[in-house]
Amino acid sequence: MLNSIIRFALNHRLLVVALTAMLVVYGVLTLGQLPIDVFPDISKPTVTIMTESHGMAPEEVEMRVTFPIESYLNGLPGVERIRSQSGIGLSAIYVEFDWGTDIYRNRQLVQEKLNLAKEHLPKDITPIMGPIGSLMGQIQQISVTTESDKLSPMELRSVAEWVLRPRLMTIPGVSQVISIGGGLKQYQILISAEKINRFQISIEQIDKELSQISQNTTGGFLEKEGQEFLVRNIGIVNDVDDIKKTLVGLHFGRPVLVSDIAEVKEAPRLKRGDGSFNGKPSVVMTIQKQPGADTVTITKAIDKAIEELRPALPAGIVVNPDVFKQANFIEDSIRGIQGKLKTGTVLVFVILFIFLANLRMSIITLTAIPVSFLVTVIVFKLFGMSVNTMTLGGLAIAIGELVDDSIVDVENVFRRLRENAQNANPRSILRVIYEASSEVRNSIVLATIIIALVFLPLFNLTGLEGRLFAPLGIAYLTALMASLIVSLTLTPVLCSYFLRGKTVAHKDTNFVQFLKNYDRVILNWALPRANTVLSASLIMLILSLLLIPFMGRDFLPKFNEGTAMISIVARPGISLTESNKLGARAEAILLATPEVKSTSRRTGRAELDEHAAGVNVSEIDVDFKPDGRPREKVLNDIRTQLKSELPGVGVNIGQPISHLIDHMLSGVSAALAIKIFGPDLTTLREKSIELQEAIKDTKGLVDLRIEQQGLIPQVKVQVLREEAAQFGLNPGEITKLLEAALNGEAVAQVIEENRIYDVFFQFDESSRGSIKQMENTVLKIMPDGKKILLRDVADVYETTGPNEINRENSQRRMVISGNVSGRDLGGLVQEIQRKVQEKVLLPEGYYIIYGGQFESQQAATRKIIFFGLISILGIAFVLFNHFRSSAITAQIMATIPLAFIGGIVLLFFADRSITVASLVGFITLCGMASRNSIMMISHYLHLMNHEGEKFTKEMIIRGSQERLVPVMMTALVASLALLPLVFSRGQSGSEVLHPVAVVIVGGLLSSTLLDIIVTPTLFYRFGRKSAEAYVTQDKNQETV
């Protein structure tokens, strides 16, 4: 079949050229349409359920809201983990499904369960699913500040909420815009307890009257003079005066208006979060994109929209769309990788020209690169894949292999054409090209099959690593398959056009001649000394393996996002005002650091936000200037300063995307999460402190902190049932009235132009500012005029309670988290586990689980090793099937460990850490290394089979010399194409690809150098019997 393809291509040369031209044009057009991102979509399918719970305490939220919902969700098909956070008045449940499940199906399953669960929730409490988000969903932050004293924070927020947000939400691809800071405007009715006492009006009555403060109804239709008039009954309030004039009751027959008992004003709604930019109060808007949407395009559309809105904004308002832009990171990363691909291609051309010293041959060979790349682009489009650092990385790794297929073909065609030209009766050029291409096609196809097999472990990786590396594998294999087809079709056709006439008179260059002579000298020495060569190789392999224990273990290399995310966690129970002050102090420290360009802070939780942070938590996004000290040093300085100047405050320094990845892996925003599970919160707190004490001095462990699940002060109003019953009050009635009076209630809405504001009532500060005042709240006025006060029917007292309760898979849990600095994660975790086992004794029913990147690293390593072994067995089977000789199979397989020598040594000196990325490098190396060996041994067999050579030393030297140029070119081309990535340690976008490149380049250097000596020596020493058997068998083989 393969011969037919080559024959068809040579018989229809113009068609092949035309089809290639069409593919190139379509590929170029498609390239411009592909979405661009930093990484492939690495979001785990997660459904978030947010339930606002009317100011309930965390224990109540846990038992009355979270627990019933969790009970229904347990057992849903595909659910991997359910995490929940029960805070003050809010339950957030995160249902994590298996990778690969369909998010729309998952949401449907969850919705069905929520409908059932709702019946078991307190009245008026409705769980709501958050929008479909993605890990890389937070694409931009915008600050809205003012330079004018005339604009209040409330006006700033109104501009953000009613001018900017609606416009941004219309941009295709934007899924949510969340604002924090400023103040959400409300019309507030602040009732004086003293005045309602005076007018003898109960809360019950006020609640009832105010619920009707703003109502429109319809009056049907009025027919008049043959026309129909719509009758509208208008009772809605339009401004403060309307509200003031509303009746709330009667006192001795005289109407009591709202203005008699309350102050009415426009004021900001109670804040549970605040924002700032560069230390100044600000509204910070976070924009989230829909999954799969193109970040760069959306960002450009957002910038354009803001520019269009700018002239219409009130004077003095400053909108800064550059606070945080993921697009910058994407563009930097993609630009970096594209630059490296370009450099790699140029280096490939230089190598080709040095070895071939023939422009035409070089151009024919190089053609494989763009054509294969553009075919890959078309495949990306068909499979809905994006251009990202991983897919580009796959192409970068493939460059060497892409030209290799063509090199093998062009080099063989060239050699045969040269021989043909020297014949007395030269045959037709097309015939020679066909035979020359057919001659090498088997080894090319075999090598490609083996490389495809080698990538088996990559496609079996699940989790984040699978999501990350599978696109790299797809890009690599697609490009390789494309290059195989190119080498069978386009390359012979181009050879037929360009390698004619004088070209075929070309001879080896002096450089190539020198290499071949040197190869002869080496082989003359090595071939009779097989034992020495093998022993030396084995010793080198053992020495390199001995380096492994001295290397650390990490999940993924550290990212360099150009920005940092700093969490400041104050003690639970701190007020928003105090937490804001702490956040502002932290910002001042950061802004005093010379390398810091800007800071934006979010303290607490924004309305609509799925990230249920307490008011004690501040998250600061820090942007850095491009120059200055190394980032690691700057971050360490910042960490030290924050800890010394903000004692007792938890500090966690990370990066936005890494932070989200950590969160996705373990539900905790740190590299290491130690989770203690158990039923009792007090014991969980006790054990987590014990654990923290046990591990706090571990070297390399930084940002160690216990999840802020502490006790916060509470005022409890315990309804006394017997006393309440005496006055005809039931507990539910009392708590409902108290909620309205103390927590407040939105009773109506005021529409101003296109803006809608709540009308909200609650007691004023002087009526609920102390326990005494609360106790004196009038709940009811009896027919005899006796006022029933709260203290008559309830015990009001100060106590403490948890600020939040976190659960995982239906169990309460407490997390001790930390990051790593200057040490590998694997070693650190081992030391921590040892210390915990020695020092922390857990009572019955309590247990510890270690999570975070460490967990993923171990799982990924296990999978890569397991599937690696399977693919090695697969390679052995394919080789045996082809050569029908276990000896030849073993000889080819023996070259794989030789490749590992260089990979391990270079990795040791470059990174000193083994990550999933470097393991992927070793996988790729297996294929590349065995490929050279296959080509070499196939050529020996070809010489014996078709060119009348016997199994002699001279045949081995001839075969090795003839394969020397392709082998060296392949190795050099592949290595040089990846060289820019080897030198890009820590550069944006190259973080994951750098270790892959280090391993491949190191491995290729060692395997090529050793291959030139070891493969011929091994074959000469052990291959005679199997080679002769192969040749005899090949000649006698019967085929059907």
Partner: protein, 138 residues
């Protein structure tokens, strides 16, 4: 003139108890202090007291200023449960262990009571009175 005895009595009422005990001062643990046993911690002059209650069982831990466990020897501690509304007081029997005291109290279905501790710390002068709200039904 009639106001003077009233003001004097008020002054006496306010100052009097504080000269005997330190109730009324802010005994809450400083913001950054984590209660090592997960309970509620309050501070004395040179030490900290943490109360952990589980069901009927009450444990009272004593720490030095560095929050390191401190021996009960030398410490003088008495405890009573004060019931809400009725203000009825019931003394508790404390058993001293190495670094903590233990007691048991059955609140008989009440939602809470106040644990009042009278502490004599050998390292500070005077008696200290601390109150902890115990919610027996939690």
């Amino acid at each position: 003139m009639k106001r003077q005895p009233f003001l004097f009595m008020l002054l006496l009422l306010l100052v009097g108890p504080t000269s005997q005990a330190h109730e009324g001062h802010d005994h809450d643990g400083p913001a950054a202090i984590q209660a090592p046993k997960g309970g509620v911690i309050k501070s004395l002059k040179k030490s900290f007291i943490e109360v952990v209650s589980k069901g009927k069982n009450i444990k009272i831990y004593i720490y030095d200023s560095e929050i390191k466990p401190k021996s009960t020897s030398g410490f003088k501690l008495s405890a009573k449960a004060v019931l809400p509304r009725t203000k009825k007081q019931e003394p508790l029997v404390l058993t001293a262990q190495d670094t903590f005291y233990e007691a048991s109290y059955d609140a008989k279905g009440l939602h809470r009571y106040t644990l009042e501790l009278l502490v004599k710390d050998p390292e500070s002068d005077g008696d200290n009175k601390l109150s902890f709200t115990i919610e027996s039904k939690r």
